[in-house]
């Protein structure tokens, strides 16, 4: 298996290919497959380590995605006293010896629940490529579209009869489902800040603008169409399809009816009131912060309560090339209460231990300060991310950067390791191989990925 071509497993092992190959080709394939036997032998063993504790504890996943790339120095890996630190000050957390940015005081009090990875190290310094990498665990390649984390979770852990979509992306497009198909595509919704609140870039939600709830496209029936009419439409449609499929393949009609069935289930589900934040108390909203990201986190908690398997909340604004210190201070002020409230609520509902929280972004920021612009550039070589809940051991710091936060000096975690660890937490078999529509085999996690043991044991 190779990152670039995802193609080192001989193709004939797929069902598709088995059907496709004639007997002669199959025989040839059998012969030719011999030199690659090690590929099969490795499968399922090299990156799935069942001996590590807490495998499969996480039943649901929340991804907090920091779009633009959060400065590690100004959030979770401060270097007090270093020339590269700039204006940001550090504070102690409730874990002895671990300091984070002073502007994250509430998260500091939750540090004992967070496994902080300070040794993240990747190779993509371009936003779009990095976003792809951190959403899928694979760098982009022209050959194939990889499945995003949410789609993998939806596919592996989702319930076919679920009323709500199993992968919901808040305030961002989420990642493409790739080879897993549209059935596992993110269901994208927009959540606005409450009145008087603001988004990540400080734009105020003006009075009179719609506030609070989520914008879910096309969730309600058009004017004049009753539920009965809708069902009669679908009923007649089924009759038409039966006639069409009589002497043709049945799969199209069936798949299409399944699509309408799922859409109808969502429309009719009492659970879809989760999209409406009106019932939340003002005090709750205040705890999360009157911000777009705060409301995104509150929405995520509501959706997790309803059983959605993966919710991704996007937080923008982290591309802080200019005026970086002020901007990060503002962003931290939004991030801090939202994360703390989310963790508190998950704890009080008893869901924390079964819900994996993933905090990650595009990359870190250059330790060297761009003095002309008073900000930091893109920096994938050394940066921070963290996991919490879902069987992850909190109060740990994994990996270490040097005094300037420039290089990982110990415990580097590559994106594929990060992904292997997430799969460990959820119990998904990271070595499971899928076949794209074109018949190419792809493993859920790139084979070099290893579970980071210290996250769990």
């Amino acid at each position: 298996m190779c990152k670039q071509c995802d193609n080192a497993t001989p193709a004939p092992v797929s069902r598709r290919n088995v059907l496709r190959y004639s007997a002669g080709a199959m025989a040839a394939a059998g012969v030719l497959a011999t030199p690659f036997r090690h590929v099969f032998a490795e499968e399922g063993t090299d990156q799935v380590d069942k001996a590590i504790a807490n495998r499969g504890k996480a039943k649901q996943v929340i991804v907090l995605y920091m779009s633009g790339g959060a400065s590690h120095l100004d959030t979770f890996d401060p270097k007090p006293g270093a020339a590269t630190q700039g204006d940001t000050r550090a504070i102690d957390t409730n874990v002895t010896g671990v300091k984070i940015a002073k502007t994250l005081p509430q998260i500091a009090k939750h540090m004992n629940d967070i496994a902080l990875i300070r040794g993240m190290s990747s190779k993509e310094g371009n936003h779009e490529r990095a976003r792809y990498l951190m959403h899928t665990g694979y760098p982009p390649t022209p050959t194939v579209v990889h499945a995003g984390l949410g789609s993998i979770v939806s596919h592996e852990m989702g319930v076919k009869t679920a009323e709500l979509p199993e992968y919901i992306a808040i305030n961002g497009p989420g990642a493409r489902p790739g080879y897993l198909g549209v059935h596992h595509a993110p269901f994208a919704i927009q959540v606005r800040a409450p009145e008087g609140g603001s988004d990540e870039r400080g734009r105020r939600q003006r009075p009179g603008q719609k506030t609070g709830g989520a914008v879910v496209q096309n969730l309600t029936l058009p004017k004049g169409v009753t539920k009965e009419r809708r069902d009669e439409r679908v009923g007649f449609l089924e009759k038409l399809n039966q006639r069409f499929s009589k002497d043709r393949t049945k799969s199209v009609g069936e798949a299409q009816q399944a699509m309408f069935e799922r859409a109808r289930r969502l429309m009719d589900s009492p659970k879809n009131t989760a999209f409406d934040l009106k019932s939340e108390k003002a005090s709750t909203i205040a705890r999360y912060g009157k911000t777009r990201f705060g409301m995104g986190c509150l929405m995520a908690r509501r959706l997790i309560d309803e059983g959605v398997k993966c919710v991704e909340v996007l937080m923008g604004g982290w591309d802080t090339h200019d005026d970086g210190f002020n901007k990060v201070r503002g962003l931290n002020a939004q991030l801090d209460p939202a994360v703390a409230a989310l963790m508190d609520d998950l704890k009080s509902s008893g869901k924390f231990d079964e819900t994996l929280i993933v905090w990650v972004g595009d990359f870190g920021r250059t330790p060297r300060i761009d003095t002309g612009r008073n900000g930091r550039g893109h920096y994938p070589r050394a940066w921070s991310a963290w996991l919490a809940g879902g069987g992850v051991q909190g109060g740990r710091v994994i990996g270490k950067t040097d005094a300037k936060a420039e290089t990982v000096v110990d415990g580097a975690v590559k994106p594929e390791d990060f992904y292997a660890s997430i799969m460990h937490a959820t119990g998904i078999d990271a070595s499971k191989t899928f076949y794209t529509g074109q018949g190419r085999p792809i493993q859920i996690v790139y084979k070099d990925g290893r579970v980071v043991k210290s996250l769990f044991a």
């Binding site: 190779c2 670039q4 071509c5 193609n7 080192a8 001989p10 496709r20 080709a25 030719l32 690659f36 371009n126 779009e128 976003r131 792809y132 959403h135 982009p140 390649t141 022209p142 579209v145 497009p173 489902p177 080879y179 198909g181 549209v182 595509a185 994208a188 496209q217 096309n218 969730l219 058009p222 004017k223 169409v225 009419r229 439409r233 007649f236 009759k239 399809n241 006639r243 069409f244 002497d247 043709r248 393949t249 799969s251 199209v252 009609g253 299409q256 699509m259 309408f260 799922r262 859409a263 109808r264 969502l266 200019d322 005026d323 002309g372 612009r373 529509g437 074109q438 018949g439 190419r440």
Partner: protein, 688 residues
Amino acid sequence: MRFILLAPAPEIQPVSNPTARASDSRLSPLPGKGLLRLFAGAMALLVVIAGITDIGHAREDGVRDVADWRRVVAAVDGTIEAKLAEEGVKPAARSGDSEFLRRLYLDVLGTVPTPEEADAFLNDKREDKRARKIDELMASETFAENQASFWFRTLTGLSVHQQRQREGQGGRYVTGDAGQKFHEWLSGQISQNRPWSEMAEDLISATGRTDENGAAVYLARWEGEVNNTAGAVAKHFLGVQIQCAQCHDHIYEPDWKQKDFEGMAAFFALTSVRRVPEYGQLRQLRRAMQDIQQGKAPGTSKQGKGLDLRRRKGKGRPGADMPGEMGGEMGGEMGGGNAAPMTRSDVQKKLRDLAKYRNIVEVRDAAVNPRYADRMMRRLKNAKNEELRARAKLMSTTPKFWLASQAADLPGVSRRYLLARWVTSNENPYFAKSLVNRMWGQYMGRGIVDPIDDFNSFQAPSHPELLKLLAEDFRASGHDLQRLQKILLNSATYQRSSRWSAEEQPDPALFAKAPVRSLNTEQLYFALVRATGMEKRLDRVSRRNGQAIQRAIFSTFTFVFDDDEGKAEEDFSGSIPQGLFLMNGELIQRALSGGRDLPSGASDRQRRNRRNRMRNRPAQTMLEDLLRTETSDSARVDQLYVRAYGRHADAAERRGAVSFVKSKGGGAAAYEDFFWAILNSAEFMTNH
């Protein structure tokens, strides 16, 4: 396999090339140094040419004997039928006229026939009406546009209508103006039936700005990243996955070594993709806007070179109006500090003017422009970054096409141009085969080699002799795309019915029946707007207000329906947003509206008034119009069948439909429900 380098000397630059821009910049524009380089290049060429015994290009060979296309069609069908007979499978019957017509429209024009077109064809009694129709459709402008969309999607992996920026690999550089330009370029090439070899050459060797040279968008898509570009070119033009050899020797092809990939990648090492200068100005203006918002003078935070942030003296308008004009130079000319700084509205206006340059880039080639080469070398020389170091190494690697017997690099000549000549050479076993295979897959639902772009010794072609036959004819015809498509569309294989009565579906690799494929996003959109009659209204709107509205509607539609490349053709899978869109979306609802029924309890006078009012108001939708002009339920139902399916309803269908409509009161709402079901049915949503 012996490979011959074809002379890329300046005098044989393709003069027939209509995109002069693409060709002239392949050679060094500098007179002094450039001539020297050219001279060196010519010398090197002589050495190479001395060994040439056979010249590859058909178009330089002059026209070869080209068989009558009908004989090729017969040979194609003969090969398919021989295999069927061998396997003991009886193929499906010939498609009916309406089945054929709808399929042809969807494949060739990307939409369904209008009821008038359908009826005219069904009533046509001429023997050769199918062949005539194929010619007619292939001659239309819509054919070129539809083909352009197909190639756009194939070459970029994105839809031309996808206005949303997608992840990675320069996806943003194919949106907006650049995307339009690329689409125009493609459709221009197709409408003049430019040989595929020449198109490929232009695409592989393009340079310049993406808002000027549409062909350059292809390379911009990969952002100049060497390995991805090399992989993409091999996949698109040769149908092979050479990038598998990037990290290890190729698994299926023992002859493809890792160093072969390096040789291939080296062709792209001198190519870079850079933002245009206007983008720098745009960023400066954004910063200036931040300054203004914070109450500072624009340019306080950083005054970069290249843009004057003062109002132009005496003229009262902002400086550096012309895109590309260097405001900095003008600033010097104006001198003095007495010009007022730009105001918020000045900056806003200029930001709006420059916004379109956000995703415009320039594809540069350091081989033909030493200025770029020096700059690249400087940047790379002391690079610590692994990727940049690898790039620097590739720059000094001699490129070599892995199937060629010798390496070649000519100073002053674009490496990509050399590659293009190799790729399109007649000696290349993959170029013609991969193209005919792609086209075959496009019309027959499955490649002769499948997956379509993964030729290797593992993937045996289902019909090797067919592949050879088509490839040879394609080469002999001078890579004539239209001739190839005409052959495929006229074949009995293409024109088979999609019906299959046996329980077990036949092996798709036998091509025993036509496939049932779900419509792609573009087909679905155009079929929907045509069947609902929205097309005419949208055309009216477009004539009045330009394309913007139509594009915006299409863009929302694409947002919901576009899915990932690489899904198998026969698979239909709908997402929840798609289901919601089709059930509740405004677009569908508006298009469906049958107008309002008269209230049942109303008095005669009310009804009369209402009827008069309605009569004076033009019908808002096709359905409303139909309900006003046609009174028989049976005829109404039949017309809707023709609109959506391109065929008339049979007696049983009419009975079923009429009884459904009647059971719901027979009014506008009943017809809306009926038509909704028709438009969402498998028969409408598939190409069959």
